[in-house]
Amino acid sequence: MKEGLIYVFKRFIHILIILLVLSFIVFSFIRLIPGDPVKSTLGPLASEESVNRMTHELYLDRPLVVQYGHWLKNVVTQGDFGKSLLTSRPVSLDIKEYLPRSLELCFLSALMILVFGVLFGTISAVFRNTWIDNVIRFLTYLGVVTPPYAFGVLFLLIFSYLLKWFPIGGLPRFSPENVRTGMLSIDALLMGNFSLFIKVLQSYFLPCLSLAIGSIAYQARIHRSAMVENVNADFIAFAEVAGVSKSKLIFKHLMKPSFIPTLTVYGLQVASLLGNAFIIESMFRINGFSQYSLNVILNKDPYGIVAVTFIFGVIFAVVNLCIDIGVVALDPRIRLKGAE
């Protein structure tokens, strides 16, 4: 337990250092970008004074080190990530508004990837070399090679427009006093409004599926091959001959060791979800973090960009940490070796 805590703590320090370096690099890069972000934000007709005032306010007229120091001080002391040029609000407010929605989107997608990826992978492995396997393998191939935006359009057209099973993009809107976590499904539950909760899930279903489907397919393939590899392992033959029941054999003896490679790949898939979500977000009119990050990048909003890369770094690190912990939990070989 203690070793575990030390490990997590070490990783945490590690992440912190990476983030510091990352943010400094991003700051210096923003300086290099040609074009004045303040001017382009305030519009063509803004007066010289207001441009200067904004430039000064954002510390853009001072040396890089001073600007970085000021930013770092504010982050550490007040959790203030600076002011966004794009929305003229503190970046932290923007993140608070946009991030939960995207996290919700990604979380639901991640859930789909895990459940459906493992489900199809298992079915495919259990019925390997039968027609069921062939059909699933063909579909997973199609899933891997089809661009996500194509799925988005297809789903929107078929399930929303023609069949009217789902809304045509957009999310249910909440009055501000009901927004507590920013994650709509949780807020709906907190309100005790179950039908609203269903509505939220319904709105999320297609975007999540479009975002997840490529990863589901990939995950299914990885899981299938991991299971097929283990099917030929001695311990499965031994357990089989020793009389372990078929279902236990598949869902326990075969599943658990096969889960280790699956989980590693899963981590990479999940970590990349948020970065890939912006086309899906704009297609389904979800005003989320991925779109926000695209906007701050396109607008060269300095503090926005830093905060966005910061968040991506944190998410990547946290997901990786979770996966590492998960792998350790699943695989006693690593765990016991680590303890020695």
Partner: protein, 554 residues
């Protein structure tokens, strides 16, 4: 071990629930949409229910602060929540009394005295006084964004005489002063002062800018009830409105930022949106109009679509090349792409006050174009100077215009490169001569309906380095002419000076191809509402057509 199974089962169930429930909800959504599309049957029931108008704009701005916004999307919201001292006449555009009942000027137009209405209340019930007018002007100029450029060099000070009398002292005479006041929106100073935070404006703190990020403080027929940045705005009818709102007007308006053609089509078709603001490509319009319940109209903008030629960059720095390009451009074909638009020989829409019909632009002729090229200094090495034509991504059919011009230029011997540029990048590129493309296509609009406004915004040095002026004219003579005309208070004299400028631009500078007069083509569901623009009475100023208090829900 068990835990994992429980976890997986829960996940599975949650997803099953998601899928299952979506099945259940289908009927409800289905019913709702059907009801919205086919409203003839349950008319009486629907009539009382439908008092919300759902409309779109190409984008929702970051803030609805009248001191900050100056774009089309800002104006569309502003006209509904803020009011101005004067109101432009629907057919002529002439200023008529609104918040001010009357005004007088003396001292050669350097001092203007306005008498205000005494029955105006803001949406929170506070009565409007002269103090609010002074506060609004000070605030606009201090913040220095949005439409402040019109007033910052014009207004010296504002004096409050009494609650209903206010005096504007001008720094210099300004001919179109009264017309320009339609961009001076009066804000509720009491409300803003009460919600003021610390900021850069001394005792005025942040001038209430933070409050206005998601609130409104105006006297218009609507106020902002919910504001979702870059997503949607909810307007609710102002119960304290001083004037009359027709009783069929929507009680609330839901405005969504929407540009994507496919989604727009689906939403209108399935009845989830009642009005598409109108920057659709022509095929979208065509396909939507196959539904007999949908109708469209054309609303002219206060400006034009222009091809702007960079006069400081080879090869378009040569006058002959610019003339050649003008000759090579088939404006009739371009208008046809848009389904027929009004052409104008002058760089100012001919319906504008101050537009002259005394100029002729260069007619389409490949031969003349080739002749001009031969006269130019690039006659022998034109291929070494590729011409880049840039247009804005997602700006309706402008890509087709650029493509057409490109193919016409190639036909007369130019080497052409087309680039589709996202809006922000487009603005960035405009910032320096080097990054400004040889030719850009964009729409430029006047702030107030008078030639002077468009001339200033489009051609004076003030806007060089912005998307409004890719030409980089930077011509001292032209600047002087524009400044002089704007300072002329006498209408006839001003008119003559405007004509002079247009002639100079067309014959001597040739910076621009006046493609056609811009227009938006909104499309709406006639079974849901009717509106003046749909009945044939189109307001000369585009944004006033979207004055929702004039809409009548069915």
């Amino acid at each position: 071990m068990k835990k994992k199974w429980i976890f997986l089962t829960v996940c599975l169930m949650a997803l099953m629930g998601l899928v299952g429930c979506s099945g259940n909800k289908t009927q409800e959504t289905g019913e709702k949409t059907q009801a919205a599309v086919a409203t003839e049957a349950p008319v009486s029931a629907e009539k009382t229910v439908r008092d919300t108008l759902r409309t779109t704009q190409t984008a929702i701005p970051d803030t609805c602060d009248p001191a900050k916004g100056s774009g089309e999307n800002d104006d569309l919201i502003f006209v509904n929540i803020y009011e101005t001292l004067v109101y432009p006449n629907a057919t002529t555009g002439d200023a008529e009394p609104l918040l001010a009942t009357s005004w007088t000027s003396d001292n050669d137009g350097l001092k203007w005295t306005f008498t205000l209405r005494d029955d105006v209340k803001f949406s929170d019930g506070t009565p409007m006084t002269a103090n609010d007018v002074k506060y609004s002007v000070d605030r606009l100029i201090a913040i220095g964004e949005g439409f402040s450029y019109i007033f910052k060099d014009v207004i010296a000070s504002v004096d409050v005489v009494d609650d209903t009398t206010v005096v504007f002292n001008l720094k210099k005479s300004f001919g179109p002063f009264i017309s320009s006041l339609i961009k001076l929106r009066i804000v509720n100073s009491t409300l803003l002062k009460a919600n003021q935070l610390d900021g850069n404006y001394g005792e005025n703190g942040d001038y209430g800018t933070t409050y206005l990020l998601n609130h409104s403080a105006g006297s218009g027929p609507y106020y902002i009830s919910t504001f979702n940045v870059n997503d949607s705005v909810y307007l609710t009818e102002n119960s304290n409105y001083w004037g009359a709102i027709n009783d069929k007007a929507p009680k609330s308006v839901e405005i969504t930022g929407l540009l994507d053609a496919a989604t727009s089509k689906m939403l209108l078709n399935s009845g989830e949106v009642d009005l598409l603001h109108g920057r659709q490509v022509s095929t979208t319009l065509k396909s939507l109009l196959t539904n007999p319940e949908f109708a469209t109209t054309s609303i002219a903008e206060t400006g034009m679509n222009y091809f702007m030629m960079n006069t400081k960059k080879a090869p378009t720095d040569d006058l002959h090349i610019r003339k050649a390009i003008s000759y090579a451009c088939d404006r009739n074909a371009m208008s046809a792409i848009y389904g027929g638009m009004e052409l104008s020989d002058s760089p100012i829409p001919s319906s504008f006050w101050g537009a002259t019909d005394d100029v002729t632009t260069y007619p389409y002729s490949e031969e003349d174009a080739k002749k001009e090229i031969a006269l130019s200094s690039y006659a022998n090495n034109l291929a070494d100077y590729p011409v880049e034509i840039a247009y804005i991504q997602g700006n309706g059919d402008t890509g087709k215009l650029a493509m057409l011009l490109g193919s016409e230029l190639e036909a007369v011997g130019f080497t052409v490169k087309i680039s589709e540029v996202p809006w922000v990048l487009f603005c960035d590129n405009a910032a320096t001569v080097e990054t400004s493309p040889s030719i850009t296509n964009a729409n430029s609009n006047a702030s107030y309906p008078e030639a002077g406004s468009l001339l200033e915004v489009k051609f004076s040095s003030m806007t060089a380095g912005t998307f409004n002026q890719n030409e980089w004219i930077l011509d001292d003579k032209l600047d002087a002419m524009i400044a002089d005309s704007l300072a002329t208070v006498d209408n006839d004299a001003r008119l003559a000076k405007y004509a002079e400028i247009q002639k100079y631009l067309t014959t001597d500078v040739v910076p621009t191809i006046n493609t056609f007069v811009g227009a938006v083509k909104p499309i709406w569901n006639t079974s849901v509402f009717s509106w003046p623009a749909g009945e044939g009475s189109v307001h000369v100023l585009e944004e006033y057509n979207y004055y929702y208090a004039d809409f009548m829900m069915k």
